[in-house]
């Protein structure tokens, strides 16, 4: 599918270049060139909106704020201080990005819709500033903005400016595509599908959202700069609320999940607006924009680009993927751990750990150790506190008391992504696959901790390529190891349930974990699949990976575990070898209930 996406992108790029080259020749008059320039200016920022809305799921309701900064920076710097427009454009972008960072970095930790409101507030504040200050020209704004030129090279000819604007659009699309197809793009899609699973492979959720917000702000700023040089004047109404709305509508119509779709949407919106003006129906603009937003979201959530892409797929028959035949676990070898843990040290140590929810003591004063290289099972009746304990170890919950030590290092205060970065992988009881990616991409996400997350080298394609090849190779190896060779290009949702479990395990293995936490890996599996799972876990242990598993299927637990820890009512009631634990009266009573009170009834 990645290859397919490349080919589709190549076709899109070709069409794009042809359209951009031909349009000014076909419509050489200044009105049509002007429309094209406005569309291009908008397209630069819709690419940013795709990154923000489509990838990071952040509602960018106040993007006009950043366009306004770009626009006014250009107006003021060029008119009052005689700057070169291109230098002013860059300066505006830097200012917008700095402001975006200051606003987003703290707020993105809060609930999703709050950032939307914060940017809207920022936008409305900037409007007040623009109206009230004489420095910004007050309600009348700034006039006499020069035509665009780049360090002395004049772009006064509308046609030249048109090409320049669309060159920048191409640059924005290129940056967008680089991000979309990088580890960051995968990380953002992972966040969209499941924040928990994203954390489990080491994704820093806030950081990537901030990155997209800053880049989106930069693109919006450039867009505003270009617009004021075309209009030759600016005032506070240029960057009003409807500016943001048009951006969002355009992106949605074009296709939220496609970088090309964003650019396409901008063009559609601008031409639609002009059409309405030609038809003398300017009042209808608002109704039509709003209605299009709602209708497209309800009926075609992936917009025109998604629609076209699907038709292409169907015509090219590209999505025909064969049945997956599962091979034996370990059919494809994986490198054993390079530096397996020393056998004389405690590997994972849980000491005096407690956690209460209100009056309920979910885990109270639990201590045990997991030996290096061992398979340890954590069992207990419903409500015993196993999952809570698992989440405490994985950093998904904070503990009230106690210490969790991993290879001698205290990890109880670390969030999931940092736990993952240390080499602790996990799978989930209720499968948490990334449905918006192929199986291979899911597993590639497991490699996240080995990739660069700096956005600049990725956006400019300085680091990505070499890195990607290695990631892909490691992911294929992990998929082969669990026995899923040939399933790479499938969407996880179309696979049978048992195979989906294997994908999740492969993703955790791609992390090259030293410790693997598995939460009820056998639930939902039939007997054959359960046996195969057991074989896989044994082979994982043979790589030198230590395994801690919560499981209900006693055949698996008793057959597999070196050591069993039993919990009940939040406390540890027994531990030892499987056969010893199974015979303990306390364990039997915990599972089947005590006889005394039942008789009393």
């Amino acid at each position: 599918m990645v290859l397919l996406a490349r080919r589709k992108s190549l076709i899109a790029a070709l069409l794009f270049v042809i359209a951009v080259a031909v349009y000014p020749l076909a419509f050489p008059d200044s009105y049509h060139l002007g429309v094209g320039i406005s569309a291009g200016a908008m397209a630069v920022s819709t690419v940013g909106v795709v990154l923000l809305l489509g990838l990071a799921h952040q509602l960018a309701i106040g993007q006009a704020a950043f366009s306004m900064i770009g626009g006014y920076a250009n107006a003021i710097l060029c008119v009052r201080y005689g700057w070169d427009p291109f230098a002013a454009l860059l300066a505006g972008a830097v200012m917008a990005m700095a402001l975006a960072y200051v606003v987003a970095a703290p707020i993105l930790k809060l609930r999703g819709f709050v950032l939307a409101m914060a940017t809207l507030a920022l936008h409305l504040m900037l409007i007040v500033v623009a109206v009230e200050l004489s420095f910004t020209g007050g309600p009348m704004g700034v006039t006499g903005i020069p035509k665009f030129h780049v360090f002395g090279i004049s772009l006064a000819d509308d046609r030249a400016f048109f090409w320049f604007v669309w060159l920048l659009v191409f640059g924005a699309v290129w940056i967008g595509l680089n991000i979309d197809r990088s580890a960051i793009g995968r990380a953002l899609r992972a966040i969209a599908a499941s924040e928990q699973a994203a954390g489990s492979v080491g994704v820093d959720i806030t950081r990537h959202k901030v990155q997209m917000f800053v880049i989106g702000g930069g693109m919006a700023s450039v867009s505003g700069s270009l617009l004021v040089h075309y209009l030759r004047a600016t005032d506070p109404t240029v960057f009003g609320f409807s500016y943001s709305i048009n951006l969002i509508t355009g992106t949605i119509i074009g296709g939220l999940t496609s970088i090309w779709g964003g650019a396409l949407g901008a063009a559609i919106i601008i031409f639609l607006r002009e059409l309405l003006r030609d038809l003398a129906l300017p009042l209808w603009e608002s109704v039509i924009m709003g209605a299009l937003t709602v209708i497209v979201l309800i009926a075609f959530p992936r917009g025109i680009a998604g629609f076209v892409s699907r038709i292409y797929d169907r015509m090219a028959n590209e999505r025909e993927v064969g049945r997956v035949v599962v091979t034996e676990p370990g059919a494809v070898a994986m490198q054993p751990l390079a530096n397996p843990p020393m056998s004389h040290q405690p590997f994972l140590e849980v000491a005096g750990v407690s956690r209460a929810f209100g009056s309920l003591r979910a885990v109270s004063n639990v201590s045990f150790t997991v030996g290096p290289g061992a398979i340890t099972a954590l069992i207990g009746p419903n409500g015993a506190g196993k999952t809570t304990l698992f989440n405490l170890i994985g950093g998904y919950l904070t503990l009230d008391a106690g210490v969790v030590r991993f290879e001698g290092r205290e990890i109880q205060a670390l969030p999931p992504r940092d736990v993952a970065q240390l080499g602790i992988g996990r799978t989930f009881q209720n499968l948490q696959l990334f449905d918006n990616m192929t199986v291979l991409e899911n597993v590639m996400c497991g490699q996240h901790r080995f990739t660069t997350h700096a956005v600049l080298p990725i956006a400019l394609r300085l680091a990505a390529q070499r890195q990607e090849a290695g990631i892909r190779h490691a992911a294929l190896e992990a998929l082969g190891f669990v026995g899923l060779q040939g399933a790479e290009q499938h969407e996880p949702a179309v696979l049978p349930f048992g195979h989906q479990r294997l994908v999740e395990i492969a993703r955790a293995l791609a992390l090259r974990p030293r410790l693997l936490l598995m939460d009820e890996p056998a639930s939902g599996l039939n007997d054959t699949e359960t046996e195969r799972l057991a074989e896989l876990i044994v082979r994982i242990a043979a790589l030198g990976v230590t395994v801690l598993v919560v499981e209900h299927d006693m055949r698996l637990v008793m057959g597999l575990a070196d050591h069993v820890v039993v919990m009940d009512h939040g406390e540890m009631i027994a531990e030892g070898a499987p056969d010893v634990v199974r015979g303990e009266p306390a364990v039997i009573a915990a599972y089947l209930g005590q006889e005394a009170p039942a008789r009393a009834a």
Binding site: P381, F497, E531
Partner: protein, 256 residues
């Protein structure tokens, strides 16, 4: 038969939980459904309530197919559930919780009578009626959950792990209340992991294992059947042979 499940399969989205489950509950019976956690007991109750969609099979209540009905319709048909972990409305008072239980009843007078009945059955709740539900002890909360579910005078009551998280002495109290419910109103299907507590009050029982009915029979027979313990903690014979095969594979590969 009051409740009848025939060859029912169901699950949550991509994860199948129940496979081909058939069971029935007769009018006036107390039936226990026991099994280790993860066996699918709660899923079965949620399937009956229409919260989980069935992928195959049929569910009938009083002869009427209810498998495709939405939850409110099933409640109106006369089934109520005491959910796992009680699921009270924590920031509402005890009385308001009980009134929510009578949501489907339009008759104010009968709601008032039902409320009085509950307070007569659980006098402590009358004292606590103005208190927020989340401030109650675990046992009291379980009483609220049972009282809330019976406010609608259901003909079939489903109880999901009423013993969960409670001390043995409180469990015994709750179980006595459940027996009293039967004499008052009829049919009970109780899901429990605590096999002894549930079978002690039940007429018949089913053992659920990995989403399938593994055993069924009279409660007093199941109580002494060693196969029940195997269903919880594993064993040697039959399909437990997997355990032995896993052990030998492990020995072959890991040498331990």
């Amino acid at each position: 038969m009051q409740l009848e499940l025939e060859h029912v399969s169901s699950g949550y989205g991509r994860s199948p939980v129940l496979h081909d489950v058939s069971l029935h509950v007769g009018e006036g019976e107390i039936v226990a459904l026991i099994g280790a956690n993860g066996a699918g007991k709660s899923t079965l109750l949620n399937t009956v309530m229409g919260l989980v969609a069935t992928s195959a099979g049929s569910i009938r209540f009083d002869g009427r197919a209810i498998g495709q009905l939405p939850t409110p319709a099933i409640v109106r048909a006369g089934i109520a559930q005491v959910p796992e972990r009680r699921q009270l409305f924590g920031s509402m008072s005890v009385e308001e919780n009980l009134l929510m239980g009578a949501y489907t009843s339009a008759d104010r007078h009968s709601v008032a009578t039902a409320l009085e009945e509950q307070f007569a059955r659980f006098p402590i709740l009358r004292e606590r009626r103005r208190q927020l539900a989340r401030t109650l002890s675990g046992g009291e909360q379980q009483m609220v959950a049972i009282a809330r579910a019976t406010m609608s005078r259901p003909r079939l009551l489903l109880l999901d792990e009423p013993s969960l998280g409670l001390a043995p002495i409180i469990v015994a109290q709750i179980m006595r209340q459940i027996v009293a419910l039967r004499s008052a109103r009829g049919t009970v299907l109780i899901v429990e992991q605590n096999a002894h507590a549930a079978l002690a009050i039940a007429d018949r029982g089913y053992v659920l294992e990995n989403g399938r009915i593994a055993l069924e029979g009279a409660a007093n027979e199941l109580l002494v059947n060693p196969a029940v313990q195997e269903a919880y903690l594993g064993g040697q014979g039959g399909h437990y042979a997997i355990e032995g095969r896993i052990r030998s594979r492990k020995l072959a590969i890991l040498g331990r």
